[in-house]
């Protein structure tokens, strides 16, 4: 197989021959070994060899982007030609640009020497541990994956970032099952560097397995009330993702529909909330090292003590709206822990829910959300009363961030994020 640098030479020769002086491109070679167990039994072993190439060409101030996966000389030449044609067909817009020159860098992250036999044994052990310790769990899928990638981003300004990275992923899908009773689907995942620890002890695997068993016995909840909700770390991360999309991302900043478009440096959340895209945090197994636009990645404070510090926008939006570009395009999310132990947080709930999942419509730019509280428990006078289903929660993303009453001292670190439990007041809760 040809080296990634040789392919880079071919691309640049192609652009030179087409008289394209401004361009950027990204090459990725990826090898995946993936083991699947369906319904508790090993069923599939996959080996995948994949490539991706993205070319962005500029012709007379017009930009075209093409994606492909053919690294042969003919494939690369055809893609360069397609990028040039695409740019020629485009509309002139000076906001399209590439990152300025920066110091070239090479990055190595994670585990580059996998031990597949040991990984197989660890997954076998996980299946056995679940069968022994959680007899009411029906495992639907366990996927164990080792992914190794080698990538190169270069542009005509002299940017040159090369990365080699490897990590294991474990993804579980399961439900509680007893007789004819089945719970909602639960899932849990972790990203790991090494295989030193039993998989069942990692991330939130035990929490979710335990939860699925408890969900088999449900209590009814009827009526409507305004109460408190404890968001689990995974769910709070999902809500932060919705906040980012609806208030601080490219499309809502460009079209001006973001309700936070003028809130940079102003208060948008409770003082206790600090949210950072922290790609260099050691608890993130493979953090982003360069952005999609070609900037070297920096840790990016998004909300600091309740104050909006940065939008999460790319170079095009930045130039279009004259707002600072985000030098982090990841979701390497770190939310600072608070001072309240989870147990104390639950004790402080007069009436509300602990919510582990949200099945809802995509909130619009108003931030209004409405959906089913999945994998949830009813809490009254500080006591967990039981698992519930068919309960809806309704509120507004922006308002919810201001109504944060407590953040837990415990955090979930699953290799991809570090997030605590968060208690939010004034959520409308309705049962059947």
């Amino acid at each position: 197989m040809k080296s990634i640098r040789k392919i880079a030479e071919r691309i640049e020769a192609g652009f030179a021959a087409s008289k394209v002086k401004k361009y950027s491109y990204h090459l990725v070679e990826k090898e995946t070994r993936e083991l699947s167990a369906e319904n508790g039994e090993f069923s599939l072993l996959r080996t995948l060899f994949d490539n991706t190439v993205t070319l962005s060409a500029f012709v007379s101030g017009k930009n075209g982007v093409v994606h492909g996966n053919d690294f042969s000389d003919e494939g690369i030449d055809a893609l360069v030609k397609s990028a040039v044609l695409s740019a020629q067909a485009s509309v002139k817009d000076t906001a399209h640009d590439i990152a300025p020159e920066q110091e070239p860098a090479k990055f190595r992250q994670g585990n580059l020497k996998p031990d597949f036999d040991r990984f197989f044994e660890r997954i076998k052990e996980l299946l056995s541990d679940i069968r022994t310790e959680y007899p009411k769990i029906q495992i639907m899928n366990v996927i164990g994956e080792y992914v190794k990638s080698h990538s190169l981003l270069r542009n005509s300004n002299g940017v040159d970032f090369e990365q080699t990275a490897g990590q294991y992923f474990v993804i579980l899908e399961f439900a509680g099952h007893e007789g004819d009773k089945t719970t909602s689907l639960e899932s849990a995942s972790v990203q790991i560097r090494d295989l030193d620890t039993r998989l069942i002890d990692l991330g939130s695997l035990r929490y979710h397995l335990d939860n699925a068993q408890k969900q088999l016995d449900q209590i009814p909840l009827s009526g409507k009330f305004t109460g408190s909700v404890i968001f689990t770390p995974e769910l709070f991360a999902e809500f932060i993702g919705m906040v980012a999309r609806n208030y601080i991302s490219d499309s809502v900043i460009i079209d001006g529909t973001s309700l936070w478009k003028n809130k940079l440096g102003r208060k948008v959340a409770d003082d206790k909330l600090t949210v950072t895209l922290k790609s260099h945090d050691k608890r993130i197994v493979i953090g982003e090292r360069y952005t999609a636009d070609g900037f070297r990645t920096e840790d990016l404070p998004v909300i600091e003590n309740g104050v909006l510090k940065n939008f999460t926008i790319g170079l095009y939006t930045s130039r279009k709206t004259k707002k600072p570009v985000s030098k982090n395009s990841s979701m390497d999310l770190v939310v600072n822990p608070g001072k309240t132990p989870l147990e104390q947080m639950i004790a402080g709930v007069k009436q509300g829910l602990i919510v582990g999942g949200f099945s809802g419509g995509n909130p619009g730019t108003s931030g209004d959300f409405s959906g089913v509280a999945k994998n949830s428990y009813y809490v009254e006078d500080g006591q967990i009363k039981g698992a519930v289903s068919e309960v809806m929660i309704n509120g507004n993303l922006g308002a919810a961030l201001k109504d944060i009453r407590a953040i837990s001292s415990e955090v979930l670190a699953d290799g991809g994020m570090v997030v605590p439990y968060v208690l939010v007041d004034n959520i409308v809760i309705s049962g059947k």
């Binding site: 490539n51 492909g68 485009s90 499309s251 419509g361």
Partner: protein, 462 residues
């Protein structure tokens, strides 16, 4: 279109295993105008080859991002080794799957490619029309998206074939400010379907009435009110009935999820809906003609057949791949589908719909004193229990048999097999949607359809 370079590789299939070799190219074309700015101008192509080998009940799979005979040889070897590894380390020891016939399925539809320039001009002219015609919008977006799959399949003991699935759509997204508090409110409409740009977008004028209807609904929504939360009598519009067929019922009757413990398992041949409800996953032909996204041959080389899921309220069957059909002792339905060349086939829906009834929409509205007519949805989810959720982006109050104010975005939920028993009127027209993807490890294009349904459901609100 892919050239067939794989036929000769069939001689390399190993004895004592069951093999599928697939060459595939996926294409995508995407153009986005946001507020008149061309923010997306992308063409993508991915091409490769994969092999899946079954040895005594366990599978090996391998793929390579290269469409060549050498790559085919390499993935056949790697997939065979993977199957051997599992057979020796975690044996199932099952007998070979029974062959359901062999043969060749010919190509049904070609793929036509167009220059990016034409796509950009098409979107620009539509954007110009929208900005000129609707000055009261605060934001507008026009998205052209086209995806196609081109596959060549060779099997050891099933059908071989050349399969294509081209489709293209234009999304028009409009945003206006609510009169009450100036918050932005959004609605979208989709135009297009199976085929190419030339099939659907030779002209743009035919979309004007649909765009006008979208604008009228958005103007109603700016005066909208929150729905009142609770258990209500509603009419689910066709898009929501289609979502119900796909999300709330369809997933629970995919045979792999039945084996995983879904609520459909213990309910086979039992009543799960009122007798007005019949639901089918069509392969390629519906009573109205060709299905929105026709599937003739699946990615295991099985001929695609309709799967009757619910008939007059009784749960009649599941959707199968080859392995699950054998477990349940039925014929495969040809539901094993893969999205990318590097994806293994999974049990997926094709064109899933609730069948029409005999009621007229206006009579259904007139029959409700206090409820809602829920028209459009932007997403839906369900789980093994049949508990579902659909986002509702457009709807109206119904008061004393007449439509009232528009409602703001909300969500509806229920348990499918409970809610379907409350269906007491079914309209006579089916509305299909085929622009979306279903996500289940991989994404896959699906069609979903349904008539209006009068039923009881839990609606979220303030």
């Amino acid at each position: 279109m892919l050239n067939d370079i794989l036929k000769t590789r069939k001689s390399l299939f190993s004895d004592g295993v069951q093999t599928v070799l697939r060459g595939q190219e996926n294409r995508n074309r995407r153009v986005i105008f946001l507020q008149g700015n061309l923010v997306g101008n992308v063409r993508s192509e991915s091409r490769g080859v994969c092999a899946r080998v079954c040895k005594r009940g366990v599978y090996g799979f391998s793929s390579m991002a290269e469409y060549s005979r050498q790559a085919a040889d390499a993935v056949l070897k790697a997939a065979t080794e993977n199957a051997m590894f599992l057979d020796s380390h975690a044996p199932k020891g099952l007998p070979d799957q029974v062959s359901n016939g062999t043969g060749i399925v010919p190509l049904h539809k070609g793929i036509v490619d167009f220059e990016q320039k034409r796509i950009i001009e098409l979107c620009k002219s539509l954007d110009d029309y929208i900005v000129k015609t609707y000055p009261d919008l605060v934001s507008r977006t026009v998205v052209y998206t086209e995806d196609s799959q081109d596959k060549i399949l060779y099997t050891s003991d099933a059908y071989d074939g050349h399969i294509t699935n081209p489709r293209c759509y234009i999304y028009v997204i409009m945003t206006a400010l609510s009169k009450k508090d100036n918050t932005p409110l959004e609605l979208y409409a989709v135009f297009g379907g199976s085929g190419s740009l030339e099939t659907h977008f030779k002209t743009i004028e035919w979309m004007y009435p649909g765009i006008d209807a979208l604008h009228r609904k958005l103007m109603d929504k700016v005066d909208g009110v929150y729905a009142e939360a609770g258990y209500k009598t509603v009419i689910l519009g066709g898009p929501l009935a289609g979502m119900l067929a796909h999300e709330a019922v369809g997933h629970t009757v995919e045979a792999d999820l039945v084996l995983g413990g879904s609520v459909a398992g213990p309910n086979l041949n039992k009543r799960v809906a009122s007798d007005l409800v019949t639901m089918v996953d069509y392969a390629n032909l519906t009573p109205e003609g060709e299905a929105p996204l026709p599937v003739y041959l699946d990615d295991e080389g099985q001929i695609a057949r309709d799967a009757v899921l619910i008939e007059n309220g009784i749960l009649k069957g599941y959707m199968h791949n080859r392995e699950s059909a054998e477990k349940f002792g039925v014929q495969p339905t040809g539901n094993a589908r893969a999205w990318d060349f590097s994806d293994e086939p999974l049990i997926r829906m094709r064109n899933t719909a609730v069948l029409p009834g005999t009621s007229r929409l206006k009579d259904m509205i007139a029959s409700i004193d206090d409820g809602y007519y829920l028209i459009d949805t932007n997403n839906g989810q369900a789980d093994l229990t049949g508990e579902f959720m659909f986002g509702v982006t457009m709807g109206y109050e119904i008061k004393n048999g007449k439509l009232g104010k528009a409602i703001l975005d909300t969500t509806v939920t229920g348990i499918a097999f409970d809610m379907l028993k409350t269906v007491d009127m079914v309209s006579d027209k089916v509305c299909w949607n085929s622009s979306g993807f279903c996500g289940k490890k991989q994404r896959i294009p699906v069609g979903l359809g349904g008539p209006e349904l009068r039923c009881k459901i839990t609606i979220g609100g303030r």
